[in-house]
Amino acid sequence: MGLDIRWPIGLMFSIVGLLLAGYGLFTGGEIYKCSLGININLIWGGVLLVFGAIMLTLAKIGSGKAPEGKE
């Protein structure tokens, strides 16, 4: 199928990661009592961003190659 699924996955997780990390950057204190005092939004937003970036990179590399054909 013509659409490489790695583009939307990469894009979506990058945006969600940015949002979450950004939110974590500007929040603190009370709301992180439930997450044992860890600013989990900032950390996990970063993880999502890295994951999204890896997906986008893979999609970019993949777009250079011709897709493998039928046997």
């Binding site: 199928m1 659409l3 979450l20 929040t27 989990i40 996990w44 937003g45 493998e68």
Partner: protein, 641 residues
């Protein structure tokens, strides 16, 4: 249960996910030209995508919720649903069965049955499958709407129609490819949405060793958490060892089964019946771009499947571990008291004089009598607020709502933001549960029922149109099924019971069909009916301990009493399978084979030339890859022995 107020960040994450799945549907629209593009993805999808979709189609939200529930109820033994109940069957599908499904050019599992046997077997299988997918999809949506209602206070009907509408949008545009692509998105969503919750839970309890110690306490007296009746005691490792409690026999493990029922009932009959014959999962592999890719699909899926217990079962174990530690102030969730019953309970509480019995009777659930008595004393001395009374009544319920375990952990650990992510992961898996079932339903309807019996010899355009039309119908039927499931609490039990009756004998038919050329259509047809009949009869004459005859079985007689539902279920499956196998074989020998050897080529093992895997990379050959997976699985079993 009081509602959680979502923050803008949570809404933003949900909205983003929705926008992306709908966007994928629209982006795929221009590739949907023929009926085959729409219904079978034109056999063109890369292996890693079909592999992740294969596992994701199975990892519905009900599975997420149910596995955490079982993790709490039974502990690490639940992992056998993965290690015993999935991996071997997935390897078998890849190595032995996929060549026939993919190689026969059948577009669906029922169509394979028509090629191998005859129209009767196909009709039987496709009709029962179509009905089951609609109900499965309805159950999934019902659970989703109920969750949104309980958690966020959204209206049930509104949630149901909105979420179904979103699924309709992307499935209608992009067909099976859309469903498969969003399943991959959902796979990552679930892994990345739940991993931090598990991490925080483990950190909270103090690591793996602390969890093990807490679970040893649970095993010594499970009645303290209302997990088992008063007076039940297990060996310390009942929640933390996968095999040792099973070897001690049914009375020595919380699951109430022995190793034989586990290995034969779950590991062989139920598991092979599900993974090797269920078109919902097999369809994902059949959409792969070539035979090698199709065979590698279940193998790739097996890798995450093997590791999923850490994500889905561990939360349940963490929940009971936390509940037993007084310092953690965590309680296993209790089933919410229905609004009408709560009203009656308040009336009973405010009556003069109030009695504990009347309050407990009004609530209709098991209650902590001491808490109720204390509440009455307090309320008589000084009239309490209604809101306080409600909370206290709910708090006095002494039953566990195991299905609420996963959500209670999400609520405990997630700040706004992460909460939105975890909620989106749940929403995603509910919705893809619907999408997966509807895309399997529309293929079976269009090719195996409509084209086969109602309107043969029409143009491909017509079938492509029908595929879209029936997608809309399928979604509407699912919504109806969801309302049906919401009306009675028993509806779900009945539906799942019927699934069990139909699925239990099915693998016997496929096993004989694929590996024994002499097996005839008549044998398969009658064998299948007898097998299903056997499961019904078995259910009617056996019961599990502590249940009243009725929906749980035993309404004709009680010839056997099993320690748990699970044990009853395994033995039911094992019996139905055996009857179907013997009946099919016996009738086949007594009837004439109507198919010629030429017709059976490519459909039966002994008549099909062996596939040559030699040109493939050594480690990618299905047999080699499969063996490595099985070894890894054995190692996991040894570690958690």
């Amino acid at each position: 249960m009081h509602n959680v107020a979502l923050q803008w960040i949570d809404y933003a994450i949900i909205a983003l996910y929705t926008a992306f799945v709908v966007g994928i549907g629209f982006a795929l629209k221009r590739y949907m030209k023929t009926s085959s593009d729409y219904l079978t993805s034109g056999r063109s999808i890369p292996t890693w995508v079909t592999g992740l979709a294969f596992i994701s189609a199975n990892l519905g939200a009900l599975e997420l919720v149910g596995m955490a529930a079982s993790g709490a109820k039974y502990g690490i033994v639940t992992a056998h649903f993965y290690w015993v109940g999935a991996i071997p069957a997935m390897v078998f599908l890849a190595v032995f069965m996929m060549p026939f499904y993919y190689g026969s050019k059948a577009r669906s599992v029922p169509e394979y049955l028509k090629m191998r046997f005859d129209e009767r077997v196909r009709a039987l299988n496709s009709i029962s499958f179509a009905v089951m997918t609609i109900f499965a999809s309805g159950i999934s949506m019902n659970a989703l709407a109920k969750l949104l209602h309980q958690l966020l206070g959204w209206n049930y009907g509104f949630s149901l129609w909105i979420c179904s509408g979103i699924v309709l949008l992307y499935v209608l545009k992009g067909g099976l490819t859309s469903a498969i692509y969003t399943e991959v998105l959902q796979f990552f969503m679930i892994v990345l949405g739940f991993a931090p919750v598990v991490y925080l839970g483990l950190k909270d309890i103090g690591g793996w060793d602390a969890l093990t110690n807490a679970l040893h306490t649970v095993a010594a007296n499970p009645a303290a958490l209302a997990l088992k009746p008063e007076g039940t005691h297990y060996a310390a490792n009942a929640w933390t060892s996968a095999w040792q409690p099973l070897l001690g026999g049914p009375s020595n493990n919380p699951l109430g089964v022995d190793w034989f029922a586990m290995v034969f009932g779950l590991g062989f009959v139920l598991s092979f019946g599900y993974w090797c014959t269920n078109f919902l999962v097999v369809q994902r592999a059949m959409a792969a771009r070539n035979m090698g890719a199709a065979r590698r699909t279940p193998l790739i899926a097996a890798i995450p499947k093997m590791l999923f217990p850490a994500l889905v079962i561990l939360p349940g174990m963490l929940a009971v571990g936390l509940a037993v530690l007084p310092g953690k102030s965590y309680h296993l969730p209790s089933p919410p008291v229905h609004e009408a019953r709560m009203g009656a309970a308040l009336t009973a509480l405010n009556a003069v004089p109030a009695s504990s019995e009347a309050v407990i009777k009004a609530v209709g659930l098991k209650m902590d009598a001491a808490k109720v008595a204390a509440l009455i004393a307090e309320n008589t001395a000084h009239k309490l607020d209604d809101a306080v009374l409600r909370t206290r009544v709910q708090d006095a319920v002494a039953e566990n709502d195991y299905d609420g375990v996963i959500l209670s952990l999400v609520k405990r650990y997630c700040p706004p933001g992460l909460f939105g992510l975890a909620l989106t992961a749940l929403l995603a898996s509910f919705m893809s549960g619907m999408a997966g079932n509807v895309t399997a339903f529309n293929t079976v309807w269009t090719y195996d029922l409509y084209q086969a019996y109602l309107a043969p010899n029409k143009s491909d355009e017509h079938y492509a149109w029908m595929g879209r039309f029936i997608t809309v119908v399928g979604i509407l039927l699912s919504i109806a099924a969801a309302y049906f499931a919401s009306m009675w609490t028993n509806a779900m039990d009945i539906i799942q019971l019927v699934f069990g009756f139909v699925n239990a004998p099915l693998f016997a038919t496929f096993l004989l069909g694929m590996f024994w050329a002499r097996c005839t259509g008549t044998g398969a047809f009658i064998g299948l009916i007898l097998g299903t009949g056997t499961s019904m009869l078995f259910h009617a004459v056996t019961l599990s301990a502590g249940n009243v005859p009725g929906i749980k079985g035993g309404y004709l007689a009680q010839l056997g009493i099993f320690p748990t539902d699970m044990a009853q279920n395994y033995w039911l499956a094992a019996t139905a399978f055996t009857v179907c196998l013997l009946a099919t074989a016996g009738i086949s020998l007594a009837t004439r084979q109507t198919k010629t050897v030429e017709e059976l080529k490519g459909l039966v093992y002994s008549l099909t030339p062996r596939l040559k895997d030699n040109e493939q990379n050594f480690f990618l050959r299905p047999a080699v890859f499969g063996t490595i997976l099985l070894i890894a699985c054995v190692i996991l079993n040894i570690i958690f022995w």
